[in-house]
Symmetry: C2
Subunit: 143 residues, 2 copies
């Protein structure tokens, strides 16, 4: 069974198991690699967009239970759940190995209406990327 | 097979089939029924929150392909997709039959970070709802 399928089934049938992987689109245009991820309920400050080892794009978000707990009516004894499908109570994490033509030092991130967009421009003239060494480089690429 | 399970499997394995149903939490507190739905990528103006026949809460959103087409790089010949998991290109629709204690005429809706929250207060003193007749009542409950 492929990794993607097994993760998909794990996410669907054991929704509380570990981190969730946000639904992602990754498209390549002549100028850039553009990643879009659905992260509903999260504000910009709650999402970390990181570059690990100069070649792996990693997106992480903390456990959203904290945020949900603040919005009232959380005396759980008095609450009755009729339907609970959102993955809002789980941490999110996903990562992608960037291709050789990615200008990893020019990553930009933006967030709107619960969608994270990460743009990684391509290097001009077919230059290959410089690896950043083994140390994780952790940063937020917000403008 | 239950309707919920069959819809879940349909959504997962045939993601382009018809309307998608947004992941929803429905909780009941002593004062109200609170629905939260993940609708990432949608603005308030793109979502219709409706009351049908005075008893069915219906949430609909148009096909998001139109919005996606506006954000550049949509010369599809020059685009290569590496990963396409978001349901952004489908229309959304879901509906819930409200319980007898719901004050359907006091529905409120709000949107933040791609999450729609619909609050339906409960009637005081166990009064039952007044049905609105057979005609659909279509409205947006934004404040």
């Amino acid at each position: 069974m492929s990794l993607t399928l097994s993760r998909m089934l794990l996410d669907r049938f054991f929704p509380d198991a570990g981190e969730a992987r946000p639904p992602t689109d990754w498209k390549e245009t002549p100028e850039a690699h553009v990643f879009r991820m659905d992260v509903p309920g999260l504000a910009k400050e709650q999402v970390a967009v990181e570059l690990v080892d100069g070649r792996v794009l990693r997106v992480r978000a903390g456990n959203k239970q904290d945020a949900a707990a603040k919005d009232g009516h959380e005396e759980e004894d008095a609450v009755r759940w009729h339907c609970r499908e959102r993955v809002g109570s789980r941490a999110l994490e996903t990562q992608f190995r960037l291709p050789e033509d990615a200008a990893a030092d020019e990553v930009r991130a933006a967030m709107a209406d619960g969608v994270l967009t990460v743009t990684v421009p391509k290097r001009k003239g077919g230059k290959k990327r410089q690896h950043g060494g083994n140390k994780p480089v952790c940063c937020r690429f917000w403008p």
